[in-house]
């Protein structure tokens, strides 16, 4: 074959593969949200059913976090709840189980992520006695990857859309749709203000082929900031007025539900109303003051996961890292309480 013809054929093949990739990319999306409560860190991943099968998920823990990776093998460090579409049985399957540390040496030859890792956590996903164990590899980042975060967590998923009986095919043709996993005592968040991005790369399979489609890699981000809620109490003409502001990483939070409590002491409180934060994160409430004893107030703000793609994906990663772009940014759910405030009638 002449060189020019060969070149043309190669170019055509590349063009075709890029077209195929872009057509697949059009539908691919996922979200990740991260929230913290005490020593627990919860990571929530959602992959729409229409997204191509996912081969690899790489979650980068932002710089400033520290991770305790010293737990001995066989230690339960958390739990996982997931939902999968079992294509072979036509059923949505709820999966649940513990997150358990494993010996990194036992995974040194894993095809998906060979080498010795700082830690390996097994996600045990059980349904009716059948357990699918997914290893999650954890390492401090090195080299260029440090730009994405301090640690990388990597998990590989088997393809579900290749023919039944193919080696390495997902059990029951299970397509992961949603996973919540929580680990305790592992991550410590930095105290600096601001929103931190958990960059997460999703590499899909080429549909029906069971081979990773690297040019289809796309990013989803979880945005995390330390939440806070202020409370100021004042009185006038036998009435009290409460006000405050909800922030997340120092940024005002609108739409947060604020539950107000009052009582005779800072530890004996009952329901006393509710409010919602406005565009500036501010909220207020008022009511009657009765009796002659001091009254204590406390407020607790709660928000659900929120889409923040417009601002969160404004600066996508380079195409060399995420050719599929940044498809979503999500602010995590949290609950935070104010300090107690005291009013004397």
């Amino acid at each position: 074959m002449r060189a020019s013809v060969r070149t043309a054929l190669v170019a055509a093949a590349i063009a075709a593969s890029l077209l195929a990739a872009s057509s697949a990319l059009a539908a691919n999306n996922a979200t990740i949200a991260v929230s913290s409560s005490g020593a627990a860190t919860a990571i929530h991943i959602n992959v729409p059913q229409t997204t191509d099968p996912i081969a690899v998920i790489s979650i980068f823990v932002p710089a400033g976090y520290t991770a305790n990776l010293t737990a001995a093998p066989n230690t339960t460090i958390g739990s996982v709840d997931a939902t999968a579409n079992g294509h072979d049985v036509g059923l949505t399957l709820p999966l649940t189980g513990p997150v358990v540390t494993d010996s990194p040496a036992a995974h040194a030859a894993d095809v998906c992520s060979p080498g010795t890792h700082a830690a390996v956590w097994n996600l045990n996903l059980s349904v009716a006695g059948s357990t699918l164990v997914l290893p999650l590899y954890v390492d401090p980042t090195a080299g260029d990857a440090t730009a994405l975060g301090a640690y990388q967590m990597r998990i590989c998923l088997p393809p579900w859309d290749i023919p039944v009986g193919s080696p390495g095919r997902a059990f029951e043709g299970a397509q992961l749709l949603d996973a919540n996993f929580t680990v305790k005592g592992i991550f410590t968040a930095p105290t600096a203000p601001g929103l931190l991005a958990w960059h997460t790369l999703f590499t899909p399979y080429t549909p029906g082929a069971g081979t990773p489609n690297l040019v289809g890699t796309f990013e989803a981000r979880a945005l995390v900031g330390a939440p806070s809620l202020s409370l100021k109490a004042s009185k006038k003409n036998g009435r009290y007025t409460l006000s405050g502001t909800a922030t997340e990483g120092g940024v005002p939070v609108s739409g947060a539900s604020v539950a107000i409590q009052r009582g005779a002491s800072a530890t004996k409180l009952g329901k006393a109303g509710s409010a919602t934060t406005g565009a500036t994160g501010a909220w207020s409430a008022s009511g009657k003051l009765a009796g002659k004893k001091p009254v204590f107030f406390k407020a607790t703000a709660t928000v659900k996961e929120r889409d923040a793609t417009a601002q969160g994906c404004a600066t996508p990663l380079p195409a060399t890292i995420a050719p599929g772009g940044c498809t979503s940014a999500t602010l995590g759910a949290w609950t935070v309480s104010s300090p107690a405030a005291k009013l004397k009638p």
């Binding site: 939902t83 049985v89 036509g90 059923l91 949505t92 059980s126 349904v127 009716a128 006695g129």
Partner: protein
């Protein structure tokens, strides 16, 4: 007085500090151990039964940590047959001829057990507590005396549903989904027998093959018959599909489902796929404790189960009743080994296994495990249960299955 957990589990063991060496001609028995063999689906689409094997393993570990049987540790070697009877035969031969096991224990699957029955009886190797209630296993004990089942009779279970329908809904129009093998056909035959003069009220039946991807078309056909009572004689996956399919078709018959398919996860999956009302009110039978049922949490058997799970299978799904079934089978095996004597032989083990009168803590209260040379159905009674308020609730008194 309520016995302690440890007492429950090991009271029947004679924990001698040292046992005599095994008879020289008894394979699998040494001064320090008893080697048992087994096969089951540790991988493949039917690996949902793996907990039957791991639950038994865990209970043997518990017994070993409490002194074993006459000082001998039980070693249970399990080979993965992927639920393929051909592999069951291959691995059983290997276990008998190369590993020289004392007995085969806890084989999973009717066809699988039948596939090795002739060989094991020819070799006079005990095939004990087979995971099947098929008529052919128990009823042919004269021809195959070395093979003993464990599950209640499938036909007897079917008969209970038939009697229940005849008694509570004598005008029922009945549709039946059943697996197209001995398991399903035994249940169907039992149902007809239990219905007696009402057997003609079965207006439609549909079978499925274990390899079928769905049972949707069968359920559509059964609904179209105009039936108001739906009897599901199916393994868990197909039972779930049947409940879901009926709900999605808007069919609301009185539902019955075989006891094989009442693991708590079955209804959980049904509800995820078809809403919280699907399957509610269904009737089945149960002989085992359900570790998730709030009314049974303080039962000594459930407490022992949780204790063994916590220590020996800490990362496994304790809610899977198959683990508890495996422990129930292992408890029976330990009992039989103990009664086989200090120097057991295959003959003495068979003698013990066919003369059992055991209170097994993993069985529901009031049930016993009894055998005789003419009774090869160890679990002869079971309870009706109904799915209400998120659990299978025990109804009434034990009912005879064999």
């Amino acid at each position: 007085m309520r016995p302690s957990l440890a007492a429950l589990a090991v009271a029947c063991l004679l924990v001698a500090p040292s046992a005599g060496a095994g008879p020289a001609d008894t394979p699998g028995v040494t001064a320090t151990q008893i080697l048992l063999g087994g096969t089951g689906p540790l991988s493949g689409p039917e690996s949902q039964y793996e907990p039957v094997l791991t639950g038994a393993q865990a209970y043997f570990s518990y017994v070993n940590d409490h002194g074993g049987v006459f000082g001998r540790k039980i070693v249970y070697k399990v080979e993965d047959d992927s639920y393929d009877p051909a592999k069951t035969v291959q691995f059983t031969r290997q276990l008998v001829e190369q590993d020289k096991v004392f007995a085969i224990f806890n084989t999973i699957g009717t066809e699988h057990s039948l596939a090795i029955r002739g060989y094991l009886n020819q070799m006079q190797v005990p095939e004990l507590f087979v995971g099947s209630g098929a008529t052919s296993i128990a009823a042919q004990h004269a021809q195959f005396p070395w093979t003993l089942g464990l599950l209640p009779s499938f036909a007897g279970e079917g008969s209970i549903y038939g009697r229940q329908i005849a008694a509570t809904k004598p005008g029922a129009k009945i549709a039946v989904l059943y697996e197209n093998d001995e398991y399903g056909m035994d249940l169907l035959a039992g149902l007809k027998s239990g219905l007696g003069s009402h057997a003609g009220q079965i207006v439609s039946t549909a079978s499925y093959e274990p390899t079928d991807v769905t049972v949707d078309s069968q359920v559509q056909q059964l609904k179209a018959s105009g039936a108001d009572t739906f009897v599901i004689f199916a393994l868990p996956t197909q039972a779930i599909q049947a409940f879901v399919s009926a709900a999605k078709l808007g069919w609301k018959p009185t539902e019955y489902v075989t006891s094989i398919s009442i693991d708590p996860a079955v209804m959980q999956i049904v509800h995820v796929n078809a809403g919280a009302q699907a399957g509610v009110g269904a009737t089945s039978t149960a002989f085992l404790h359900d570790p998730t049922n709030p009314t049974q949490l303080k039962s000594p058997g459930v407490l022992l189960y949780r204790q063994v799970m916590k220590k020996y299978l800490p990362h496994e799904d304790w809610k899977a009743v198959a683990h508890l079934y495996g422990m129930m089978a292992a408890y029976a095996m330990v009992d039989a080994l103990q009664h086989a004597g200090k120097n057991p032989t295959r003959q003495s083990l068979l003698q013990a296994a066919t003369h059992m009168n055991e209170v097994n803590p993993f069985l529901l209260p009031g049930l016993k495990l009894t055998t005789s040379p003419s009774n090869y159905y160890p679990i002869g009674h079971t309870y009706l249960v109904r799915y209400l308020h998120g659990f299978w609730n025990v109804l009434g008194k034990p009912l005879k299955t064999s």
